[in-house]
C-alpha cells in the first residue's frame, strides 16, 4: 500500500479514541483501570440492548436479563481487546466498542428466546400463506402466483437452501439460533440465504414474474 492510501485508510483519531487506545495499551494499573472503564462502557451497551428487547421476552426476569448483560459485556470485552489493533479509527472508539456488546447481547437474547423451542426446518410442513402471515383470502391471481413461488422453492433450491430459506424467511427463526443448531456461522448461513433468493428471483424472472408483478397482482 502506498503512503497516500495508507493515510486515507487510517483517519486521524479523535483525542478521546486516542486516549482509549493509549490507556488500554499501557501497562500496570493504568491498563487495569482502562479495562475496567471499558467493561463499564460495554455493560451499559449490553443493558441498553436487554432493555430494548425486554418487551419481547416476557418470560425473562430482571435478574436473567442482568446476567445476560454481564455475560455479553464480558464476552465483548474479550473481543474488543483481541481486536484492538484492527480498530481503524473509522468511527469513535466507543461506537466501535459498543457494536461488540450489542452483538453479544442480541445473540444471547435471541438464543435464550428460542431455548427449548423446536426450530422448524422441514419444507414439507410449511405453508406459505400461514407461515408468512398471508391471509387465505388472497385473490385467485395471488393464489396462483404464490403457488408458483411455492413450486419454485421446491424445484430450484437445494435441500439445504430450502431449509435455510424456510427457517429464516418464512418461519422467523433468528439467524444466530439456526447457525447454532446447524453448527455453522451467521455469515455462512446468510450466504446460503442470499444464493437461494438469487436463484429464486432468477427462476421467477425466467417465468416472466418478478417481485413487482407478484406485489401488483
Amino acid at each position: 500500500m502506498d503512503a497516500a492510501a495508507s493515510v486515507q485508510s487510517s483517519p486521524t483519531l479523535d483525542p478521546e479514541s486516542r486516549e482509549w487506545l493509549r490507556s488500554l495499551r499501557a501497562g500496570g494499573r493504568e491498563h487495569d483501570g482502562a479495562v475496567l472503564r471499558l467493561h463499564e462502557l460495554l455493560l451499559r451497551a449490553a443493558r441498553f440492548e436487554c432493555a430494548r428487547r425486554r418487551p419481547t421476552l416476557p418470560h425473562l426476569r430482571g435478574n436473567d436479563l442482568d446476567d445476560i448483560a454481564n455475560q455479553a459485556a464480558d464476552d465483548a470485552l474479550v473481543s474488543v481487546l483481541r481486536r484492538l489493533d484492527t480498530f481503524r479509527g473509522a468511527s469513535r472508539f466507543t461506537t466501535w466498542a459498543y457494536k461488540f456488546a450489542l452483538l453479544e447481547a442480541a445473540v444471547k437474547l435471541r438464543k435464550r428466546a428460542w431455548q427449548g423451542r423446536e426450530v422448524p426446518l422441514e419444507p414439507e410442513t410449511w405453508g406459505l400463506f400461514t407461515s408468512a402471515g398471508i391471509e387465505p383470502d388472497a385473490s385467485v391471481e395471488q393464489s396462483e402466483l404464490l403457488g408458483t413461488l411455492q413450486q419454485a422453492i421446491a424445484d430450484v433450491l437445494t435441500p439445504h437452501q430450502r431449509r435455510v430459506l424456510v427457517a429464516l424467511a418464512l418461519n422467523g427463526v433468528p439467524i444466530d439460533v439456526l447457525a447454532e443448531r446447524l453448527d455453522t456461522t451467521r455469515g455462512a448461513l446468510y450466504k446460503t440465504l442470499h444464493d437461494a433468493r438469487r436463484k429464486l428471483r432468477g427462476h421467477l424472472e425466467e417465468l416472466g414474474l418478478s417481485l413487482e408483478t407478484l406485489e401488483a397482482s
Binding site: 451497551a45 441498553f48 440492548e49 430494548r52 473509522a90 468511527s91 469513535r92 461506537t95 466501535w96 459498543y98 457494536k99 450489542l102 452483538l103 442480541a106 435471541r110 406459505l128 408468512a132 402471515g133 398471508i134 391471509e135 388472497a138 385473490s139 395471488q142 413461488l149 430459506l165 429464516l168 424467511a169 418464512l170 433468528p174 439467524i175 444466530d176 451467521r186 455469515g187 446468510y190 450466504k191 440465504l193 442470499h194 433468493r197 438469487r198 429464486l200 428471483r201 421467477l204 417481485l211 407478484l214 406485489e215
Partner: protein, 77 residues
C-alpha cells in the same frame, strides 16, 4: 388491493434486489455507517450495499437499529 403483509412476506422470501454486502462486512462497517448517518452524511454512498443488506438480514437490521439508537441517544444528551 394493497396488501402490505404480502409485500413484506415476499420481501422476506426474495430479499433485496440490489447487490448487498454480507453479515461480516456489515458488522465491520456498522460503526462508521451509523456515525455517518447520525452526522447527516451520505452513509449509503460511503458503504455501498449495507443498506440493502439491512433490508435482507433481520439480525443485522436489529443491531443497526440498536447502535444507532444508543449512539444517537448519547449525542442528544
Amino acid at each position: 388491493m394493497e396488501r402490505p403483509e404480502l409485500k413484506q412476506a415476499l420481501g422476506r422470501l426474495l430479499g433485496p434486489s440490489e447487490p448487498e454486502i454480507g453479515c461480516d462486512e456489515c458488522f465491520a462497517e456498522l460503526d462508521r455507517y451509523v456515525e455517518l448517518e447520525l452526522a447527516g452524511a451520505d452513509a449509503d454512498a460511503a458503504v455501498p450495499g449495507l443498506r440493502e443488506h439491512l433490508a435482507g438480514c433481520a439480525a443485522c437490521r436489529e443491531e443497526h437499529e440498536s447502535l444507532r439508537a444508543l449512539v444517537g441517544g448519547e449525542q442528544a444528551l
